[in-house]
């Protein structure tokens, strides 16, 4: 490509965030810093929001966000559009990095004290900035109501709390096998409610 254009306006029919992010990632893989900058602007608030949700600490969240974006830059060539969406690729990386950090000795020390006072549900009451985000909120909120209380607890502790299944087992005082079952049943129901198909 000899010149750079806004991907969104170049392909208005395909201008959904997922498609835009996919195209940007493909360009990032070719070393395109402008595309990386655009991709950052698109996803950084959500990536940072998720990471901060898990870590709480602002400075650590910025560190991990930086790690994630440098990893996106480094490994963009391994993103395969045929095998999954760009959004999933980025959020999988962000969540994993945040969980790595949350489990490191430094942050784990105060986790037990946090558990009692933390709300592991999505902050639904917060006024969201964009209609798009609000729609995601509502979709997930609605899907979450289809889970049993125990499934919801297990999924929330794992995803939003960053707890391992053995930690979830201790926190909920149920056998680890039960946690696995709840996580799986909960995720199956969420998947179906959210209309995810491969």
């Amino acid at each position: 490509m000899s010149h750079e254009e806004d991907v969104g306006s170049e392909h208005p029919a395909e201008g959904t965030p997922a498609v835009v992010q996919r195209d940007l990632l493909v360009r990032v893989a070719q070393g395109d810093q402008r595309a990386f900058s655009d991709l950052y602007d698109q996803v950084a608030p959500r990536v940072f929001g998720l990471i901060k949700r898990l870590l709480r600490d602002h400075a650590q969240s910025e560190e991990v966000t930086q790690e994630v974006f440098l990893e996106i830059w480094q490994t963009a060539s391994r993103f395969d559009p045929n095998k999954g969406g760009a959004t999933t690729w980025i959020f999988t990386m962000a969540h994993r990095r945040a969980v790595d950090r949350v489990r490191s000795s430094q942050s784990s020390r105060d986790r037990d004290t946090r558990i009692g006072i933390r709300d592991h549900k999505v902050d639904y009451d917060h006024v969201s900035e964009t209609i798009e985000v609000r729609i995601e909120h509502e979709r997930v909120e609605r899907a979450m109501t289809q889970l049993t209380e125990l499934q919801r607890q297990a999924v929330s502790l794992a995803y939003y709390g960053g707890y391992s299944h053995s930690e979830v087992s201790e926190l909920l005082s149920v056998p680890i096998g039960t946690v696995k079952t709840r996580l799986r049943d909960g995720m199956i129901r969420l998947r179906d409610e959210l209309g995810v198909t491969s």
């Binding site: 893989a29 070393g31 810093q33 990386f36 900058s37 602007d41 950084a44 608030p45 959500r46 940072f48 949700r53 969240s61 910025e62 966000t65 930086q66 974006f69 440098l70 990893e71 830059w73 480094q74 490994t75 060539s77 391994r78 095998k83 999954g84 969406g85 959004t87 999933t88 690729w89 959020f91 999988t92 969540h95 999505v122 969201s128 985000v133 995601e136 909120h137 979709r139 997930v140 999924v155 794992a158 995803y159 939003y160 960053g162 391992s164 299944h165 979830v168 946690v179 696995k180 996580l183 799986r184 909960g186 995720m187 199956i188 969420l190 998947r191 959210l194 995810v196 198909t197 491969s198």
Partner: protein, 251 residues
């Protein structure tokens, strides 16, 4: 215990939620290589988890963060496209990129892996890590990441534990010991690959004051080799001069 077979498919949700410990992650990723069902379910759950992530309130980080990241791009090398399609887009390839592109991180990962194997207690000092230690860490990481990694744990005479980890696909082995006696300064522990043809020297094992260490063996591991350790005069020997104090047969 690491679950097997059908039980592994049941880990797909916990995998997508990053709720598995390292051993289960490896077991599940190996399972995905052979199970289309597990791959499909993991992909669907990854999409589902991403939607959970998208539902979190966004927060725009400070502009300085972007500036800092952009400033690092020029000096941050990008990895080549993964030639083996099996790995592309997979968490495994991400893990590999992490392990091999960042030596200090690899060392930390290895320290975690080693701690996992011996049950804690081994400290790897990253700040003072030498280049050779980092190279060893990379090699241990490679063994650990290999799909055919095998781990054999044994109890040593006089207490302590030794674990042999190896990957036939890499012809490389590493030994991790915990609770090994320290030696007087004129003696060393020497490592050997041993088979019916005899013993081939495989480097020295430097045991710290706390009796713990790990070491990637030198040379090539042949199929069916056992790994032995003998006490030798300082500087080592070309053939073992005493009975092994430790001997582990590969599977």
């Amino acid at each position: 215990m690491t679950p097997r077979g059908a039980d592994l498919t049941g880990l797909s949700a916990a995998y997508a939620l990053d709720a598995l410990d390292a051993a289960d992650v490896r077991a599940f990723e190996a399972h995905m290589d052979v199970s289309a069902e597990a791959r499909t379910e993991a992909a669907e759950f990854a999409d589902t988890a991403a939607l959970l992530g998208l539902a979190v309130d966004p927060e725009t980080p400070l502009a300085t963060l972007k500036a800092s990241i952009m400033a690092q791009l020029a000096s941050t090398p990008q990895v080549e496209r993964e030639p083996d399609a099996r790995f592309s887009g997979r968490a495994e390839s991400i893990a590999q990129a992490r392990w091999f592109s960042r030596p200090v991180r690899a060392l930390l990962a290895v320290a975690a892996a080693v701690a996992l194997i011996v049950g804690g207690g081994i400290a790897v000092t990253t700040i003072n890590a030498t280049t050779s230690q980092q190279a060893s860490a990379d090699r241990l990481a490679a063994i650990y990441a290999a799909s055919d990694m095998t781990s054999i744990k044994t109890t040593m005479e006089g207490g302590g534990e030794a674990t042999l980890v190896y990957a036939s696909s890499l012809a490389t082995a590493a030994l991790i010991v915990d609770g090994m006696h320290s030696l007087p300064p004129d003696k060393v522990y020497e490592l050997w690959y041993i088979n019916d043809d005899g013993a081939r020297p495989a480097g020295m094992l430097n045991v710290g004051a706390d009796g713990t260490t790990w070491c990637v063996l030198e040379g090539t591991m042949l199929h069916g080799d056992s790994v032995g350790v003998t006490v030798e005069p300082r500087g080592g020997s070309t053939t073992p001069s005493a009975d092994p104090v430790l001997m582990i047969a590969s599977a």
